[in-house]
């Protein structure tokens, strides 16, 4: 049990710095005038080749709002090949009897700190908040991901095949996120989701103003938070304008054209303004989310999702009209003032409005293992409020809607021909507390099979006498 709250899980949720992060001053002079290399830290993930897999006679939730009873799912060469009744097994196919079982797309968590706040949560592992200044858009979460975090394999056993790893919420602009596939690797590049856009983590409210306000630094208020963001967007707009100007002059053959001094922070913000980097904004209160949406219009960018949004139910239409998803918990509330108005119907309300985009996120190494249960709880409360959400719709909260907010919905998040073979076979209706993932395919490769326990994947757990006989 945790009683020293300031040292516990709240570090992440609250963006607390004391006892969570000890960092040094960043080197502002790191910026170079050199031409940026496209994709400097490329994914090296290549799924292993393997036989086709045919799952037969299961209840299939496709992630596109459809439920198919007694249907088959065929995965060939790492991709979904077909979904439907009585499919033919290709030669050499691995056949999975799906009778009585349920099949869903691999689950996606859009808000995880696995790898950057890994287990064990010792000081040396605290890599999620670069809380040395309120704007650190220059940092990339991927440069701190520890692939040996035992939380990855625990999440895999919960059916999670992709996840977004974000910087924490201490800062107004905390840095770039990375989307990973949940596969074992020694380097994070070996997990990196090929072609997934990066995100920018931003944070509203209490965390930035507390972290810096208590140090008598800017920002110390919500006013300061918004002024802080806006100053950055002004600068980023000018940066983009200057780069455009330089490129125009260069094209015209103007010898006096001087390249703009490269700035890693502004590169990130410019990426947002160009629509290449997706904004994931940590924001609890309805009023603050509305301010952020106005600000996005002011500077001409889009918010992909509000994360945590415990008050999203108060403005569900506003999000839907702006095409913004709500990445939310099922029932967390009250752990700080800005979360005091949380209700367990939040997700159901967000789902209920036209064009609503509800996503269950975890922000927790425990919650990521049970996204299906969290969705089930939220739907149960929705049903009691008169908002019935059938399983074929509910599954989108942890698959296709999540993929949409991450910009990877063309590749994964549903069982449609041509998409990645990210598939979970559950021993029963996944929206049950007793449901267990029995088989998890990532790009068609079996990454987890409950019937065949393996030694821990994390090097950390190897040779630990206490861990003998334990699978996380």
């Amino acid at each position: 049990m945790k009683h020293l709250v300031k040292l516990g899980w709240l570090c992440v949720a609250l963006g607390l710095v004391a006892g969570c992060a000890k960092t040094t001053k960043p080197d502002e002079a790191a910026a170079q005038a050199a031409e940026p290399v496209a994709n400097p830290y490329p994914s090296t993930y290549k799924p292993a080749a393997g036989p086709p897999t045919l799952i037969r006679s299961a209840t299939v939730l496709t992630g596109t709002g459809t439920r198919l009873d007694n249907a088959d799912v065929l995965v060939v060469d790492g991709r979904i090949s077909a979904v439907g009744p009585s499919l033919q097994a290709p030669a050499g196919a691995r056949i999975v009897d799906g009778a009585g079982k349920w099949v869903t797309p691999g689950l996606i968590d859009v808000h995880s700190h696995l790898g950057v706040y890994p287990s064990p949560s010792v000081q040396a592992h605290s890599d999620g908040n670069e809380a040395t200044g309120p704007v650190t858009a220059n940092v990339w979460a991927e440069h701190a991901v520890w692939p040996q975090d035992p939380g990855f394999e625990a999440a895999l056993e919960g059916g999670v095949t992709s996840m977004q790893i974000l910087p924490g919420s201490a800062n107004l602009m905390g840095g770039r996120s990375v989307v990973l596939k949940n596969v074992p690797a020694v380097t994070y590049q070996g997990m990196k989701f090929p072609g997934a856009p990066q995100g920018l983590k931003m944070a509203c409210g209490e965390n930035p103003k507390r972290v810096y306000g208590t140090r008598r630094q800017f920002p110390g208020t919500r006013m300061g938070n918004v002024a802080g963001y806006r100053a950055q967007w002004v600068e980023a707009s000018e940066y983009l304008r200057d780069i455009g100007e330089y490129e125009r002059k260069k094209k015209e053959g103007n010898k006096d054209a001087k390249p703009v001094k490269r700035d890693l922070r502004l590169d990130t913000l410019a990426g947002v303004l160009k629509g290449e980097i997706l904004v994931h904004h940590h924001c609890y209160r309805a009023d603050e989310m509305a301010i952020v949406l106005d600000m996005a219009k002011e500077f001409g960018y889009r918010v992909s999702a509000f994360h945590h949004g415990v008050e999203t139910y108060k403005i569900a239409n506003l999000l839907a009209e702006n095409g913004v998803c709500g990445a939310l918990w099922a029932d967390w509330w009250g752990f700080k003032m800005e979360s005091y108005d949380g209700i367990p119907e939040n997700l159901a309300f967000v789902d209920a409005v036209p064009n609503g985009c509800a996503i269950v996120h975890s922000d927790s190494s425990e919650g990521i293992q049970r996204l299906n249960q969290e969705a089930a709880k939220a739907a149960t409360h929705g049903k009691r409020a008169g908002l019935e959400i059938p399983p074929e719709r509910l599954i989108s909260w942890v698959t296709s809607n999540a993929a949409r907010s991450l910009g990877i919905n063309a590749q994964t998040g549903s069982l449609e021909a041509g998409k990645m073979g990210d598939v979970v076979v559950w021993n029963r209706d996944p929206f049950s507390v007793y449901a267990l993932a029995e088989l998890v395919l990532v790009d068609g490769v079996v990454q987890y099979e409950r019937a065949k326990p393996t030694p821990p994947r994390s090097d950390f757990l190897l040779g630990q006498p206490a861990a003998a006989g334990v699978t996380p």
């Binding site: 049990m1 945790k2 009683h3 020293l4 709250v5 300031k6 040292l7 516990g8 899980w9 709240l10 287990s119 064990p120 949560s121 010792v122 035992p150 625990a154 139910y313 108060k314 403005i315 569900a316 239409n317 506003l318 009209e321 029932d331 509330w333 009250g334 752990f335 700080k336 003032m337 005091y340 108005d341 209700i343 367990p344 119907e345 309300f349 209920a352 409005v353 036209p354 190494s365 425990e366 293992q369 249960q373 709880k377 149960t380 409360h381 009691r384 409020a385 008169g386 908002l387 929206f431 507390v433 007793y434 449901a435 267990l436 950390f460 630990q464 206490a466 861990a467 334990v470 996380p472």
Partner: protein
Amino acid sequence: MSRRDLGSHLTMAKHRGAVASLVLAVAATVAAGGANAESVLIRNATVHTMTTAGTLKGTDVLVTDGVVTDIGTSLSASGAQVIDAKGQPLTPGLFGGMTHVGIEEVLDPTTEDQALEMNEMRPEFDVMKAFNPESSTLGVARIGGITFAAIIPGTDEKSTIVAGEGAIVRLDGGTTKSRILFVELGSDANEISGGTRAAQFMLLRQAILEARNQAAIAEGDERLLTPLGRKVLREFIDGAGVILFDVDRAADIRQVLAFAQAEKLKIAIAGAAEGWRVAAELAAAKVPVFVDPFENLPDSFDSIGSTLENAARLHKAGVQVGFTMGSTEPHNIRKQRQTAGNAVAHGLPWDAALAAITRVPAEVFAVADRVGTIEKGRRADLVLWSGDPLEVTSLAEQVFIDGKLQSPRSRQTELRDRYLERIRSNTAR
């Protein structure tokens, strides 16, 4: 609760024009009673007694003046409110674990009363003096089927390992005489025990020595405890309550067992992430443990042996297993039954999982004469569920404490109903 009160809930829901379905469903099952409004007859329930009587299908439970007075079939009671359970599960009210419900409203120094930060060991610090029965956290938990919980003091940087005294409360705000002395051990407490867990036992031994030899301490002697602290600790040594040790590492649990045996202490253990590794010793010592069934990651070097099968393995070894959440944070203790369901998914028998949040905590904290089971003579703390009480798709439909039907409303239902109409009319913006 009188019929008039029930009617007022109906009226409230009608005025709000929302979520009437649940409230109506609750009210509709309550047939018109007679003059004696203090009797409730719950008909045709699947009664999980949590006693040797086991689970009784198609069974009636009669509650008179707050006490279960009969369990059987075809019971009748003139003038009783009759509730048709339609075969749904009826359980004892559930336990919310070790928590700060009522002593911490929200993360702010003005609402946080859980930790004594005086750098002094004060077992006499009784956190119940700060308990607020009107905290919004109680209602939220109560409508989720949680009817009792262990309120324990917390620790912070300026606390000591002996955090102080707490108690079992009932979530209608009522208190009990059950006493708990909470002691924090292991790496979580290193910074409040001179930087080493070894000092934790040094401090405990000295404190117990002082408490046992109250008269022998002269004025001006170096001492750890105040006179009142010595008195209170002596009461716990003499068995007036349970000393609850929060400890995870197998080696630390062994130290606690040896210490408790040497000092003849009545103890329980909370946390016990590696409890399964010392299950035989725990069983032999008859020390109950309260585990978090979700704990399966090596959150620290104290819990490298964490596994989802901890509860199942402890139970199989004969240890008395109760549940608590991984954090004492007070807002989401309704999640306790979800943890119990997960323990079942990982090998714990269903009955043992329900016992871990009903009978076991009642027995360990000496309130089993009041709560934790459904049997004749016990207080009627009951929950009628829409389905399997450990299932995430079930909800508490009716909650009784002392035989009184609790309001189905909380601060959260008020918020829900204020905004539900805007959702329905697409005007939430």
